[in-house]
């Protein structure tokens, strides 16, 4: 955008100074930035949780002591793997918070613009409905998850520093030798979990976008109602629970496939460095249900874009 200013200031004829970055990728970047401006909870909420966790770690370091015995013996993890464990632990609360925030974001993003009629402004710009909806999907499934991953990485780094400070003060045993390869493997394993999770939950994202584009009021209720009503109706008419089973399966189904019967029992509690070898990544990514879900998500997003194109209630 600075280039715009420069071009215009360069006394060139206005026709010769078209915005440089109006390709699809450039437009999507601008749209994604706009989402982060509008829906600030998307990045504020994880940051707040992260800050709380750092405070917690500092306080815990001051209050509690660990005896040396805890980290000795054969079960002793490699330092880098330890790092990854901390990252995993740090990512958990961040992921939960982000899931909630992203859920509300998806439900709100296509509804609020109609409610406050700002859609008329957005639609006055040469941006297709498809691009707009895809930008929102990218925020939910790419930008926020990667942000959370990066934040988890940063947190684990801070935790390590806090741990080492405490170790230097003799409060906890020092972290044993760093294991670069183990750490890299653990990072890749975490990233793989993230990718599988995003793909597996994509239909939920598509569903929320569709409800958001469609609902004339109370999108939250419209999102909750169909699955609940379907379960109740099914229960009382057929006395079966296929809907419930399906929802449970779409919520947990991929994780047993990905983790298999991973033995994280005693003695290997910290062996996350070998987690990558244990992940059934090929089985998870080859899972037909995973890709059926992705196809369904694509259909739902397409439907949301179509509805946004023609819904006329402003």
């Amino acid at each position: 955008m600075n280039s715009n200013l420069a071009d215009a200031a360069g006394e060139g004829p206005p026709e010769a100074a078209p915005a440089a970055r109006t390709g699809t990728a450039g437009t999507l970047l601008v749209l994604i930035r706009r989402e982060l401006w509008e829906h600030r909870a998307l990045w504020i909420a994880p940051l707040v949780v992260a800050a709380l966790m750092v405070c917690g770690a500092v306080v815990a370091g001051l209050k509690y002591h660990l005896t040396h015995g805890d980290m000795s013996g054969e079960d002793r993890p490699g330092g880098m793997a330890m790092f990854a464990v901390m990252q995993g632990a740090a990512s958990m609360p961040l992921s939960v918070v982000s899931l909630i925030v992203v859920g509300f974001y998806l439900l709100d993003c296509l509804y609020a613009e109609r409610k406050d009629r700002s859609i008329l402004f957005w639609k006055s710009l040469p941006v297709s409905d498809g691009k707009t909806v895809v930008s929102k999907l990218l925020v939910a499934l790419l930008v926020v998850p990667l942000g959370v991953f990066a934040l988890g990485l940063l947190l684990s780094l801070l935790f390590t520093v806090i741990w080492e400070v405490n170790a230097a003060l003799g409060r906890v045993p020092p972290i044993p030798g760093w294991d670069m390869l183990g750490w890299l493997k653990a990072e890749i394993a975490l990233l793989a979990c993230l990718i599988v999770g995003v793909l597996w939950y994509a239909p939920y994202a598509g569903y929320l976008l569709l409800v958001s584009a469609w609902a004339r009021r109370t999108p939250f209720l419209w999102a909750i109602l169909p699955p609940v009503v379907a379960q109740i109706v099914e229960h009382f008419t057929f006395d079966t629970h296929y809907v419930r089973d399906l929802l449970v399966y779409r919520t947990y189904g991929i994780w047993p496939t990905l983790f298999g019967h991973m033995h994280l029992g005693r003695g290997r509690a910290f062996a996350l460095s070998s987690a990558l070898d244990q992940l059934h990544l090929r089985a998870a990514l080859g899972d037909i249900d995973l890709w059926l879900g992705v196809a369904l998500a694509a259909a739902l997003v397409f439907a949301a874009a179509r509805i946004r194109r023609y819904r006329d209630d402003t």
């Binding site: 955008m1 715009n4 206005p14 915005a19 401006w37 509008e38 009629r117 700002s118 040469p126």
Partner: protein, 286 residues
């Protein structure tokens, strides 16, 4: 030059209500067209059809494109501004410039910045912190900086005070309009902007009641004001509308020459507002 807008038999119903009931008109380039009608007459629906915001039946070409199928291309050449409340309230002025500049190939940011510098609007303000008049100025700044061929304005000055309204139309005329551009405008305040229009389209009950250039209006319509005693003789020439003002009778004639009427009393070209009122009479509205 081909028409900027060519509409043939536009129709659209909301349930049993016919918002558009076979509307046909065309708009030539370099014109400022007033789309005028009472509330619920179908003005906004017509604009929405032109902007590809609503489905409809009939034939419509805007800049040679069908808004139903080629909206994305069309919006590079068309700008529109619905009434003031549509800029997102969370948006900062600087962000507005970045967003429009980032997605619009014909946006000249320096021009918008330059315009904003002459107002009280600060770059870091959010839309929700601005007064209604300032929001309109901001929106106008964005629009002035876009090199579009068609500008569609739907009640752009609704709820603004007279100073802002006057400034708005002055800016539009002086800084924006030229022979390459076309403006399509709906407004309730017809009296205020009637000198702006080069063409008018009256629309009522989803139909076009009148479509004419302003020059043609003056040769086609006459307003004759006569004393009450002379009214019956003048009435023989079949005015399509009359009303009494201070004991005199104002009559509107269609298709009569000035020479035919001059003998009866005071003769002038009716204002667009008078003509509008006359045309809407006998077709009960609301």
């Amino acid at each position: 030059m081909t028409a900027v807008i060519e509409a043939r038999g536009l129709a659209k119903a909301y349930g049993a209500t016919h918002a558009l009931d076979g509307v046909s008109f065309s708009v030539e380039p370099g014109r400022i067209v007033g789309l005028i009608g009472p509330n619920g007459a179908g003005k906004t629906t017509a604009l929405k059809a032109i902007l590809g915001l609503t489905p409809f039946t009939g034939e419509l070409q805007v800049l040679g494109l069908d808004p139903r199928t080629r909206r994305d291309e069309l919006m590079r050449e068309v700008c529109f501004m619905a009434d003031v409340a549509v800029l997102p309230r969370w948006l900062r002025v600087s962000q507005a410039l970045q967003v429009v500049g980032g997605v619009h190939p014909r946006f000249d940011r320096a021009r918008a910045t330059d315009f904003l510098r002459r107002t009280d609007i600060r770059m870091e303000s959010r839309v929700r912190e601005l007064s209604k008049g300032m929001v309109t100025q901001l929106h106008l700044a964005l629009i002035l900086a876009i090199d579009a061929r068609l500008l569609v304005l739907d009640e752009p000055t609704l709820g603004l005070d007279l100073l802002y309204r006057r400034k708005f139309y002055d800016t539009l005329l002086n800084d924006y309009f030229d022979k390459e551009r076309t403006i399509l405008l709906t407004t309730h305040q017809v009296e205020e902007v009637e000198n702006l229009f080069t063409d008018v389209i009256f629309i009522n009950h989803g139909r076009v009641a009148l479509s004419s250039s302003v020059e043609e209006l003056s040769s086609h319509y006459q307003q004759l004001t006569v004393a009450a005693e002379a009214a019956p003789t003048a009435r023989a020439l079949k005015p399509f509308y009359e009303r009494e003002v201070f004991g005199r009778v104002a009559m509107l004639f269609e298709g009569r020459s000035a020479a035919e009427l001059r003998g009866f009393g005071e003769l002038r070209t009716p204002s667009i507002a008078d003509l509008f009122v006359a045309k809407m009479q006998g077709t009960p509205s609301t």
